[in-house]
Structures are given as structure tokens and as C-alpha cells.
């Protein structure tokens, strides 16, 4: 056992002194309350994001059905006369 290890063992004992702390009675309830609130918020945020995605998809579909960008627009110029 090197000197450093011995010194570390002494400090370890010092840190362990007093053992596990006495947990105040309300701590578990507080943690559960806050954790449940975080879970609720996350759920709400997730739902909002899904809703936003759904709205975007619907908006795109409506726009696409209306404009039909895949259809070739009617030609504005007169086709050239080839036979006369």
C-alpha cells in the first residue's frame, strides 16, 4: 500500500463518517411531485409537436391538391407553325 493509497483511505473514512444522512420526511413526496410535473409537461410538449406536424401535413396536402404543382402549366406562346 503506497503512501497515497493510505492517505486516500484516511480521507475515505473521513468522508464516510456520519454515515448515510437522515432523509427529511417530505423529500420523497417533493421529488415525486416535481417529477410528475416534468412528465406531464413533456407529454404536453410531445402532443403539441405531433399536432404541429399533423397541421403541417394537412396544410401541405391542401395546398398541393389546390395548386397541383406537378401538372405542366398551359403554354402561353403559340406553337410554331410548321406546315403551311
Amino acid at each position: 500500500m503506497s503512501q497515497q493509497e493510505r492517505r486516500e483511505a484516511v480521507v475515505r473514512e473521513l468522508l464516510d463518517a456520519g454515515g448515510p444522512a437522515v432523509v427529511p420526511p417530505g423529500l420523497h413526496e417533493d421529488a415525486v411531485r416535481r417529477g410528475a410535473r416534468m412528465l406531464r409537461r413533456r407529454t404536453v410538449a410531445r402532443r403539441l409537436l405531433w399536432l404541429l406536424l399533423l397541421a403541417a401535413v394537412v396544410a401541405f396536402a391542401v395546398w398541393a391538391a389546390e395548386v397541383q404543382p406537378w401538372v405542366e402549366p398551359p403554354s402561353r406562346t403559340t406553337p410554331p407553325l410548321t406546315r403551311w
Binding site: 468522508l15 454515515g19 432523509v23 423529500l27 421529488a31
Partner: protein, 176 residues
């Protein structure tokens, strides 16, 4: 659907309560060491632990075999490190009558608690704190020597050779 959700909630509450009953004492002790508060009056440590436990509770269903103790400890350490401003290593003299680590800087306390109290490996400690492993070793050695030898006066390390007393006037002579 609703039934399954209720059953899951009940299971989570039961498991979480068992976990807190088993681990909170040790975690609170670690948090109290970190904040440097006296064991009887540790509001900061309690607030830290409550926040860390709350985040563990919130992710309880997604742990997938991960150790909740490790997770809570990580949350605790990260939260403490983020809140412990100023970060530079200067002795923090908030209250002189604090715990055994009240003479150390926040960073030294983090290293000491993780390495010696929690027994976390050097590499993991380094990764958790965002430091190189050599730095963790140095900090740990420094913290150990400060804890063992309170800096009342020069207090030479037991391993270092004693510094010979400088005769008065020697400094002046050397400078001229």
C-alpha cells in the same frame, strides 16, 4: 389503455419509493459533502437531491436497465457543477463551520466525492466533469492533502521535504 397507464403509474410509484428509501440517505450524504454544509443544516443539498430525484422519477420508465442510482448521482453532480459558480479553484469560505470539505473549492469537492466517497473510476469522473484524467488525479491528490493538512500556516506535506527557514534579509540580498 387507461387501465394500463394507471398500472404503470402505480408500478413506477412503488419502485421509485423503494429506490428512494434505499438510496436517499447515501445520496444526501454525498450532496451534503458537495455543498460543504454541516450535516444537520443542509437546505442546499436537499434541494439538489430533490431536483435530481425528480429527474430520475420523470425518466423512470425509460431507464431500460440503467442503474437509477448512477443516473441520480450524475444528475446531482451535473446540477451542482452547473450551479457552483464561480468555477475557478479558489477556496470557498461560505461558512467556516461547514462539513469536512468546506475548505475545498467546488471542483475539488466534486472530484473527492466522486473518486473517494462514491468510488467512481478516474476516467468516468473525468468524462463526467469534462476534464482530462490527469487533471482529475492532480485535483484528487491536492484535495486529499488539503483535507489531511488544514492550511493553518504553511503546513508542509508529509511526503515533501521540510522547507528550510529563510533567514531574514536573505530575500533582500538575493534580490539586490
Amino acid at each position: 389503455m387507461r387501465e394500463r397507464q394507471a398500472a404503470q403509474q402505480a408500478r413506477r410509484a412503488r419502485e421509485f419509493q423503494a429506490f428512494v428509501a434505499g438510496a436517499a440517505g447515501r445520496l444526501l450524504h454525498a450532496a451534503t459533502l458537495l455543498t460543504g454544509e454541516p450535516p444537520g443544516a443542509n437546505p442546499r443539498a436537499r434541494a439538489l437531491l430533490t431536483a435530481a430525484l425528480a429527474s430520475t422519477y420523470a425518466s423512470w420508465d425509460r431507464l431500460r436497465g440503467e442503474d437509477p442510482y448512477d443516473r441520480t448521482r450524475t444528475a446531482l453532480v451535473v446540477r451542482y457543477a452547473r450551479g457552483a459558480r464561480p468555477w475557478p479553484r479558489r477556496p470557498c469560505r461560505r461558512r467556516g463551520d461547514g462539513g469536512p470539505l468546506s475548505r475545498l473549492s467546488p471542483q475539488e469537492r466534486l472530484v473527492l466525492v466522486l473518486r473517494l466517497y462514491e468510488g467512481v473510476a478516474e476516467e468516468q469522473t473525468a468524462a463526467l466533469l469534462g476534464l482530462p484524467p490527469e487533471r482529475v488525479r492532480t485535483l484528487c491528490a491536492r484535495a486529499v492533502s488539503v483535507v489531511l493538512h488544514p492550511p493553518r500556516g504553511p503546513a508542509p506535506l508529509s511526503a515533501a521535504p521540510p522547507v528550510p527557514p529563510v533567514p531574514p534579509g536573505a530575500l533582500g540580498k538575493a534580490a539586490s
